[in-house]
Symmetry: C2
Subunit: 552 residues, 2 copies
């Protein structure tokens, strides 16, 4: 068996385009909107992007195109973590290129941004493209985390691009990669190199979102895959009636995925990092709250439950955030010395001696496993690897401790048996849902139209996602308009502002209006596996987050 | 949102019955086959089941029924771990009962076998039943692990049964529960109590399987759910090209689930417990083999891979099996003394001092986490809780160790970064696949016909599963014919023989013919999420195991 029955069937799926893009390419024309401004720090951002700042918002309408006929040679890269639908961005881009002119060429640069520097590429053909239609993963050309940000890198990219006669580069990535796309676009514009740069909004985390980008691709499929599993575990918990399940879900920093899973599954508890930070809740506050819920359910005869924990939670807890910051600095400054320590006890003593008094107290209080994880190797930026910290086990250990104390005091009479889970890699490469398959194909197809119309420094934008694809609108937005200035790794830089969960937003507001009921009662809902076929209301639904945000 | 769109849609699904069962109930007649014998120890089993041994195999044919008209009051229980489709056994049984006579009654006893003892029950109505059609979980009445095996228990059950006027009890469970069903049937038959007992073959583990039971229900859905996730992780591994994923899958003892997942996903490595035992492979043999595969792939530029590890593996490794046996005895005999020990170091020293020389060596060599897990609380039978032992982490730690040594010797130049996963609870309560929905509904419907025809001590049997439901055959098989005598917890007992993976069987033979290729090359297949709708070849396929066993 070389391909699965579902993969075979998915090859035949025809992604739905917005009506406006279904016309002949010659009948899709650009319509200019108002000039744009960055979301903050306008003067500073403008100064950094003299050639690409303040460009106009654009949309596509059905009218004779004014795009000049020109053979296109486009390069595309996949950047950063996998997200379902990446292959469809490429197939949409390819189909539009070939529909416009059979002589157009699409080159895929391999292994992420480094492929552009190392000139490692493949020229796409029908035969290659057809093997990846509507499939998950980024394996068509691979991905990578190299950041394109220095002038030296840009010079190499320019050389490589010219050697292939590239007219444009499409960067499929998250907020950082799109920030870099904007900087590269500015570089090419300043040098009048004739190479355009277009970005596409990717990330399962859902934190590349703003007034124009209604959602990043991959969020829909990944959140639904995690929700499938959480729903199954909820049903298991309600059947066996003897376990609590603490489920950590991916989503680097923002808690969008956790919140979406909560909206889909109605668990007893879902922690939201942004709320923890806003309310300044300490680790003990959180542990105390969970223990209260466990105790209340237990008193009602329900010695089981499900709690969703966002991967990024730990960095939102004030005293842990401080601790992690100190540890990052400490391990960077004393890397050699620390590296020579023989065992955990020596490392523990060393760290304790170098932390501030308060952080030392916090660190000493944590379970040993978590202490070890906090001292593990940093990522290339010197940050702790959050996904490797078993927050779900930390909370289980501490809630167990607290309930044991309460039991000793006669304040708790129930039982508490908990299991931890972590869902991340399970959802990043699933077959894209119909929504993501359609959305991504449209983003790629639309990216071609932005190129054909001579635009650069734009993000491919598809809007109106709350309803079906036929009514979606297509257009482009200057990336600079999503930027502000932030301090990153010690420097002030122009970056796309990350979208965290808004505590005033509709998804969180709805959640917080329901959660007390969900804590006490057992209101689980079971979304089941993503369906690609069947009734529309099952296979074509989008996320609850998007539905609530779009007021449906 | 109280129920999900998929659950709503699944309510409308009409499970497919075998053609023979689609007729009017009055036109389904019993056909007797040959008398049966137990699979081994015939004289001993016969002596223990004087009233129910040697009964005839039966099948159903379309002919006027000779069943006597009689109002039925049936009790049903769900026993042991959850398996997708349990609700459909109950709905099939209910529908058949009501179709035969609107006055028939179905009582669901709650929380597993203990419900029969505590007389905790619910009388099913259309309203209740309709909320559970084609759904996962056992939450309709809950499940439990109490074993019905003593005469005292049987006496209570008899009293409860008579108080409700029960004519039959249907026990939905695995090999142990069905063994107990046979003993209960014999007890009732000996006492001429007029209460029949029928079993239904449940377990995701797939180890309740023999010449007549082609598969236990739940295996199909659970294995497909795990395969969905494994396929997604494979695609992630092939996209990121930098991680090895070690994935442990549930399935208490037999490796059927691991093997099925391997057949569906074609990973680089899949360990099979039964083979490890047959070949007497030591832990170091296994670690060495995995290290070889990692090194060979790395030399070919592929610093990534996926390995599937059956939950029960650890008990198949000869020296670990001996160690666990010694630990079980030791912790049973010295429970109090061990319980008073203060910390890990005291426990470690205590255990080391009491183990045989060889087991002490094995124990000392294991990583500390695994040592702790091996000393954790036993299950109610005094056995180590295998699912709590992180075999995937054990192997990661030991392979890392070995490759580090090889690197120091210049024998390995690649990189090895591994992550562990465990899939179990994610699959036990999924919405049953179409196969399991149809199979379970048929098992329940068929159970009624066995009852109506006055049979007891029979298992509900549906065969011909390699093809579609229309051609399935229906009938019953005396449970005693699946039995032999085994030593369990120190006593010789009649039990249903557990079906382990047969190393001469077609599924394993196919796997072993392919695995060298899968080790070296990257031949991943991506099954994707279970589909309940769409092309037949996607939504109505059964497991690869069943397809290979049935020669298709």
């Amino acid at each position: 068996m070389s391909i699965s029955p579902l993969q075979k069937a998915r090859y035949a799926y025809e992604p739905k385009l917005p009506k406006i893009l279904q016309s002949d390419i010659g009948n899709v024309a650009i319509k200019e909107g108002p000039a744009t401004q960055s979301v903050a720090d306008q003067e500073k951002v403008k100064a950094l992007f003299p050639n690409t700042y303040g460009m106009k918002e654009i949309s596509f309408v059905n009218a004779p195109s004014s795009a000049k006929a020109c053979r296109q040679v486009v390069g595309v890269i996949l950047s950063g973590g996998q997200a379902p639908g990446g292959h469809n961005v490429i197939t949409g881009l390819y189909d539009a290129l070939k529909k416009a002119d059979g002589a157009n060429v699409l080159l895929g640069f391999k292994g992420g941004p480094s492929g552009l520097i190392e000139d490692s590429y493949v020229e796409f053909t029908d035969e290659i493209i057809d093997r990846y239609r509507n499939t998950g993963g980024f394996d068509i050309i691979g991905s990578g985390r190299t950041k394109l940000e220095t002038v030296e890198q840009f010079e190499v990219v320019e050389k490589v691009a010219h050697s292939h006669g590239l007219t444009a580069i499409v960067i499929i990535g998250g907020d950082d990669s799109n920030t870099n796309a904007a900087v590269l676009a500015e570089y090419f514009a300043a040098k009048k190199s004739g190479i355009q740069v277009i970005g596409c909004p990717k990330t399962i985390d859902g934190d590349l979102k703003n007034d124009v980008i209604e959602t990043s691709f991959g969020f829909d499929t990944a959140a639904k895959t995690y929700s499938e599993l959480i729903g199954n575990i909820e049903r298991d918990a309600a059947s066996a009636r003897k376990y609590w399940h603490f489920i950590k879900v991916m989503g680097r920093s923002a808690s969008h995925i956790a919140l979406e899973c909560a909206l889909e599954c109605q668990p007893n508890i879902c922690l939201i990092g942004e709320e923890v930070e806003a309310k300044g809740q300490s680790l003990m506050d959180i542990v105390c709250h969970i223990s209260d819920v466990v105790a209340a359910r237990s008193a009602a005869g329900e010695n089981f439950g499900v709690a969703i924990i966002p991967e990024g939670l730990i960095e939102f807890i004030p005293e842990i955030k401080v601790l992690i910051g100190e540890l990052n600095d400490l391990l960077a400054v004393h890397a050699d010395e620390f590296g020579r320590l023989e065992d955990f006890i020596e490392q523990f003593d060393f760290v304790l001696a170098h932390l501030s008094a308060n952080s030392a107290k916090v660190f000493a209080f944590l379970p040993e496993d978590i202490q070890k994880q906090l001292m593990m190797d940093r990522d290339p930026h010197g940050n702790v690897q959050v996904s490797r910290i078993e927050t779900e086990k930390l909370l289980i250990t501490m809630v167990t401790r607290m309930l044991k104390e309460r039991k000793a005091n006669g304040q708790f009479r129930g039982s508490f048996n908990a299991m931890g889970h972590f869902f991340g890699y399970e959802g990043r490469c699933a077959f894209p849902s119909n929504f993501d398959a359609d959305y991504c194909y449209s983003l790629g197809y639309n990216a071609y139209l932005l190129i054909a119309n001579g635009l650069t420094g734009y993000m491919s934008v598809i809007t109106g996602l709350g309803k079906g694809p036929a009514s979606w609108q297509a257009g482009g937005m200057p990336i600079t308009c999503m930027m502000n200035i932030e301090r990153r790794h010690g420097e002030y830089k122009p970056v796309i502002r990350k979208a965290l969960v808004e505590l005033e937003g509709k998804p969180f507001t709805y959640f917080s209006s329901q959660r007390e009921k969900w804590e006490k009662e057992t209101c689980y809902t079971f979304p089941g596996a993503i369906q690609y076929y069947g009734p529309e209301e099952v296979c074509d639904i989008t996320t609850r987050t998007l539905a609530l945000e779009k007021g449906e």
